[in-house]
Amino acid sequence: MVKRVDYQRKTKKDKQGIIKEDKGGYKRSMGQVDTSLPYNMLEVENFRCIKSLTIGPLEQVNLITGINNVGKTALLEAIFLHIGEINPELAWRIDRWRGLGPDYSSSWRQLFWQFDPKTPIRITATGVKDKKRSLTISTTPADATIIKNAIQREKETAFKSSGVLIQFEYTDENGETRKTIGTPLMFIEDEDNVVRFELRIEPPIGLTRFAGVFLNPRGKTTYDEDVQRFSQMRIKQQDRLLIDAMRLIEPRLEGLEILSPQGITLIFGHLRDYNEPIPLPLLGDGIRRLASLILAISAAQRGIVLVDEIENGLHHSVMTSMWNMIAEAATQFNTQVIATTHSQECVVAAHDAFSKRKEYSFRLHRLDRQNGEITAATYDQETLEAALSIPLEVRG
């Protein structure tokens, strides 16, 4: 089995990663950095289409805009790998979300800028207490060999599928470095029939500092994940926020519960005027997506939620309210949110929602491609208000 990361905050590190309470009604200017957030400044080098990019300062809630193919999803992927610290399995996972199978991913070339693994990927974040945490990803060629001790089934033969190992090296805020090696294994039956792929990770990856969830438009959260996250919320009696959020789209919603009438456990909604509860997937894509988003924010408490194309499935009329709910949830669970969008309405709605809150804990970041290089421009409240009032195009 491929090893899974349990995204729990490392208790031991909690003291070093103290979340500084930073409340109060004030506006942060561009020069001010909130050192209580997991990610304030971020540098990405040699990853996917990004040769070198610095972005920030980031806020509690962030929107990334930019034209197609400018690196918005790649930026979210870079943060996702960084949250995982020394977990090469995440590299396979982001490729799967892009539609690439493990056979393609086993050479790792597609992770690197211009498909060139000779220059390592470096992802550096400045966050809690303004200290740097850095992830370096590199590959090492090795002989393609048969590995007998990996075999778990009769008739199977395990090979290093491409003979390329991947190394994740993470230096934390105290300068301590840990690393893992990922070995892609290809299992063959009857001499030439590939039956499965697996990534062997050594040594064990352990726990991460920050919780992290990536919601992408192609790979929806599984029902199991939603059920688990809802259960956690329900146990802590924090599910009121979720129901309020879902009512934005379905005002007839009266309550939620977990049921398993046919062996599959699902979240069901009780609707006014309906005699029996309705499974969440039947309530529609928009409500399911909003529910997944609020559930993810609650699950990634004190961590980060990454959302690709946040406006998907949502009608423009609910967007300002949606941002209010995201702001409420992000504040309640102390979760940082970084989302991408192609929608000007979504940007206007976010700015509108946060402008009316006590604290404008929101920033817009636009990615541009100039002379082959990707750059980021960051709008604070005043600059975004000015740009939207002119009105200028803020989507690149």
Binding site: S389, I390, E393
Partner: protein
């Protein structure tokens, strides 16, 4: 096709503007924008884009927004025209302060451009930033750069 709609109040949002020209003339409002656009058209000058960005109190933040616009790299020359009211020197200083705040070159006098290309882009040849006030005698000179 439907235009953008404000998610809050349902009113139609104007289509966002694009910086298209290398030379930009910033004026206060829609009346000035229409007047100078018509004047430039009459004079057969079509390489200057006139942009009404709102009243003078908004200049500071709106210059910053223009400076980080994705199309700002195109701009080599920037003219700013505003009403001097009863205080020409104060009006000039106010514009200079907004330019400085946005990290743009600041001219020494009204109608005297700086000699630095605002984008420092070697591929562009025009290298002037003109700042002036809405002085009736100087309207044409300003429009002509």
């Amino acid at each position: 096709m439907m235009g953008l709609v404000c998610p809050n109040c349902g009113t139609k949002i104007e289509k966002p503007l694009r910086i298209k020209e290398e030379r930009l003339l910033i004026v206060e409002g829609r009346d000035e924008e229409e007047f100078f656009s018509a004047l430039l058209e009459k004079l057969k000058i079509n390489e200057i884009q006139v942009l009404g960005i709102g009243g003078k109190s908004l200049l500071k933040d709106r210059l910053k927004a223009l400076k980080i616009d994705s199309q700002w790299k195109k701009v080599s020359s920037l003219g700013i025209m505003r009403d001097a009211d009863q205080n020409p020197e104060g009006a000039f200083q106010s514009v200079c302060s907004a330019l400085k705040n946005a990290g743009l070159p600041v001219p020494k006098k009204v109608m005297e451009p700086t000699n630095r290309n605002i984008n420092l882009n070697p591929s562009l040849t025009s290298q002037h930033t003109v700042t002036t006030e809405d002085n009736a005698n100087n309207l044409l000179k300003t429009g002509l750069f």
